[in-house]
Point group: C2
Chain length 340, copies 2
Amino acid sequence: MLSRVKARNPGGLGNVEREGSEVNATSTDVARHAGVSRSTVSQVLNGYADRFAPETAAKVYASAAELGYEPSAAGRTLRRGSSDFVVALLPHTTFGGHLQDLFEQMSVSLAEHGYTLVLRIAGAATATLDRLVAGMKPAAVWSFTPFTDDERAVLDRRGVLAIDPPSVTQVDHNRAIGQLQARTLIEHGYRRLAFAHLQDERHDPFGFAREDGVREIARQHGLGAIQVTNVALDLDSAVRAVDAFSAPGVAVAAYNDDVAMALLSAARLRGLEVPRDLAVIGMDRTDLSRIAVPRLTTIEYDIVAASEAGTASLLQALGAGAPRPAAAPAVLHLIEGETI
Amino acid sequence: MLSRVKARNPGGLGNVEREGSEVNATSTDVARHAGVSRSTVSQVLNGYADRFAPETAAKVYASAAELGYEPSAAGRTLRRGSSDFVVALLPHTTFGGHLQDLFEQMSVSLAEHGYTLVLRIAGAATATLDRLVAGMKPAAVWSFTPFTDDERAVLDRRGVLAIDPPSVTQVDHNRAIGQLQARTLIEHGYRRLAFAHLQDERHDPFGFAREDGVREIARQHGLGAIQVTNVALDLDSAVRAVDAFSAPGVAVAAYNDDVAMALLSAARLRGLEVPRDLAVIGMDRTDLSRIAVPRLTTIEYDIVAASEAGTASLLQALGAGAPRPAAAPAVLHLIEGETI
DNA sequence: TTGAAAGCGCTAACAG
DNA sequence: CTGTTAGCGCTTTCAA
């Protein structure tokens, strides 16, 4: 057998990265080292240690550790029909540090159950997803946002476990955000409500649900129809939106803090006083929202709490069932500012 | 043989996700369908079609397409010793939010050469990296920023191709950013320069190189020592930093646009006029920097251009050698604003 | 120009 | 209690 090291280092030249003592022990190596058979190694290491004499199991554990043994995903996948990888789709929204926290938390939880998390850009062509799924045979594909129809079709075709938030949940969730924005504005005495979308719809996947939430609360309180506007992330667009608000005294629920900040800048440019002439509530609690003068009133979405629920349902679907957490955690927090 | 569908759908119940006509053709299926042997299928599909009669090859292509055949990564990995996956480490920083574009571009380029890109959170424990690498046997692990010593050690141990920017390049690159900031400030007539770090060093991996770039240019122009300060992303911190600037007329190169925006807010709070009393140049050209009043002068980093260079060197290291692009593309662009 | 055979590392059924 | 055996899907000689 041509060892991997040799194969990779023809002529012994090689580059620095590959020199030194490489470790890629197989279960055969572990078995030999422990003086047992491969199947014993496999069983001990896969949770059936109690079928063996304690000393035998101990020898196996020790040998595996000593040799730095990690099972080959390829061999295991081939045998089992699916791998221990879980693919998570990376939404095409801002990587505001928070998203990393989500995946970091998920990565750890999954690792505890023997799964390995890998990420994939959500925007990429569906054909790539197909290749990835067909090739890697992941235990599951998970998405923070609902799959597109194309994605669903591919995943179904490949027979892979596909987990996304039921779109009804997703809608409820975002409607709750709009509702909280509206309720907050109303509690502060505003009666003329508006909703400002982010114009680039690729980055505004939740806008309509949130708008609905605002509208619903407005209706419940007997307020008139809400104004709806689109704001691109440039001053011209924001100024146009502000000019279009029928009169002073409008209170705007913004799709996110960036939109809110754009409106604040536009208001300043137009000489409007915030919140007297224009009130604004954002969403996301970005770092910059804390720096704005006046500080933006916004809503924080506790993504780690939310992701814990997501991870739990994922694990359950995988049959690695951690029991569902008793209640859905509170994930929305109002952050006080001076813009309403 | 127990088919995968049956195995996954015991009792025929199953859930919606797995019903319907699943497609998971193997090379055996393709061979049978085309009336040739498995090895013929393998050879034709791996670029040796010219060893066969044209009709034979055509039959193979047609059958593979019809059956939706995708080779099993597991089988291939087992046989070849390494997979077609390339793991990219997701840095724990924000590059103006355009990080997706980088990975999307990379994903496409790699796919053209038969590789599949998967991402992994860079922050996670090194042990997880070890498992990932040992299990998945990726063709390469790539990082936009230099590996930590721990990461390097793990990758070396597993004998995997590890590509990161030579730290000298990384340093040069970031020094160039600082230099451009300083040169721009000096061209506008400023003689008292400062550099403002982002206090959270986890998000400021390049700060020192940039600071060096500023200092270097200041020295070349015979200016005095530059002031260096740390700014956290809150108003108190920014106000403290502004207060500490010895006198009006300081021009600050900020680590990024967020830091710059914090300084602008602090200046406003202190009644300083920008740029007369305090000049600021940022870095990243975030959306919000375009919305600020006054608009922030900043530098845009063309991450897609940069990533094309990165992808090229990665492919070269993989031996899928696209020829190196002739010259390094220009990746830094000054964005005019009104803050200097 | 094509096919047969071997084997990558692993696990599960079965035999002792 | 532990080992033998077969085979997951693929590629690569080697032989025809």
